[in-house]
Subunit: 275 residues, 2 copies
């Protein structure tokens, strides 16, 4: 495939340029967030607010029991962004509420080491950061590459930039975010971009039971993703077939089908001793 | 209202009785989980697996960077349950995978101090524990009372028992769980049970900026729930009107409406330099 370079700073009006908040869950020192921030600087003004330490699999945790601390983080002697002693969702919250003068036009979270497809979306700090932005009515996108050992984020960073530009001139409903997964293959092997749905694949968890040096048991979570999705319209299949997967997701968890079906339960009768 | 006592042990067959895993996010020493476990013992065999320490607002975090430890916890000199140094979702995972011989018939998480309605569902450890069970194809329910200072869980425990019995003889689709919120009012003021949807109310977050004894800034999350729901079919309104709220929720986050609308974006063209 051929890729056009998009490096034109996007102006919302004569004065205003696109303002982007960048976050992640691998931590502010991760190469993925550096590649992402650098790429997005070509189209707008970037503010980085990210966890001080790796926060993988923290889901949508927020910090309430302890206070947050914010410190400036530098890269190659230059200010890079704000490091927060909290979760990805904390970073987006405090970034939008306190660190930026006005809410950004877009939040981009990533680039994550490892795919965030199917059930993994639930556990992902990367996705939760973008979801927090969507909760705050800011358009948002989470970006992951499929390989945990990936070292070259160039292509994923370019895709992020192209999609950020796309989101900016489209109407995304408030509360919806895009979950993007980029296969870790050379760009020429990428088949294209696919609009997808969250897959149904799940983990077959195993806790390895071990014994510590003091003779006590401990358990370590491991397991294997059981891939039950078949069609390419599911994120998990799309990335396997070398498509960049783009899924619109939201945080309305109501199961409307079951809501309708449960009307026949007449649960209002339970308290009156129907049983 | 009048309430019937349900205290008949539910037998799934002649030999098998209903097996229930009980979890929470307030920790194994919380009075809410004790009231819940005691109430459910009237209808089945209860196994308690809960966090060693409070885990509020951890969302669907799971522990992968450090190993889990499991210790037995006692109450009044008797074995009460397993305490885990992890999150609510960890407890359900390890409870089902390692601590119970075979998966339970039902997982009940709670009783939580404070409501889990509207956007709070996203942050809730209590709901995430039940959601982890639903991911593992086990019917599940999360139960919360609306007051953080509540001391009497009797009524909520009774409602939990009645609904547990109800779930057991109904067909809940795999992947769906019930999110239950009980108003903290005297039972005679309860208006009934209402089938509800997740509300749209959100937090107006404020980070209080303070200065520590060493002259350094810190930020503490606070804020106020902006109640934008109007109809009683939303959880947040139902509890205000003194109804027990029961919402079917799931973990399919795909925004299907936006998925359809985004087909007109033709995102497959982005990589080819459409911009």
């Amino acid at each position: 495939m051929l890729f056009l370079e998009t490096s034109k700073v996007i102006r919302k009006s004569k004065e205003e340029i696109l303002r982007i908040l960048v976050c992640n869950d691998d931590g502010i020192y991760s190469p993925g967030i550096f590649a992402l921030a650098e790429s997005l600087k070509a189209i707008g003004e970037v503010t980085v607010v990210a966890p001080q330490q790796e926060q993988s699999a923290v889901g949508h945790a927020i910090t309430m029991q302890i206070p947050l601390r914010v410190t400036k983080s530098f890269k190659n002697g230059e200010f890079f962004g704000y490091a927060v002693n909290g979760t990805p969702a904390d970073c987006v919250k405090i970034g939008i509420r306190n660190l930026m003068d006005t809410p950004p036009d877009l939040v981009v979270s990533g680039i994550n080491h490892g795919s965030n497809t199917a059930i993994n979306i639930i556990y992902s700090g990367t996705v939760s950061a973008a979801r927090e932005a969507a909760i705050m009515d800011v358009p948002a996108m989470a970006v992951s590459v499929t390989n945990h050992a990936v070292t070259d984020f160039k292509f994923a960073a370019k895709v992020s930039k192209l999609l950020a530009a796309e989101i900016n001139h489209r109407e995304i409903p408030k509360g919806t975010l895009l979950n993007v997964n980029v296969p870790d293959v050379p760009p020429e092997q990428i088949e294209g971009i696919m609009l997808t749905k969250q897959g149904k694949s799940k983990w077959d968890d195993i806790y390895e039971q071990r014994i510590d040096p003091f003779g006590k048991d401990y358990f370590w979570l491991t397991g294997k993703l059981i891939e039950i999705d078949k069609e390419v319209e599911f994120d998990q299949v799309a990335i396997k077939k070398n498509y960049v997967s783009v899924s619109p997701i939201h945080f309305d968890l109501t199961d409307y089908d079951t809501f309708e079906k449960m009307k026949t339960w007449h649960i209002e009768g339970i308290l009156n001793g129907r049983h």
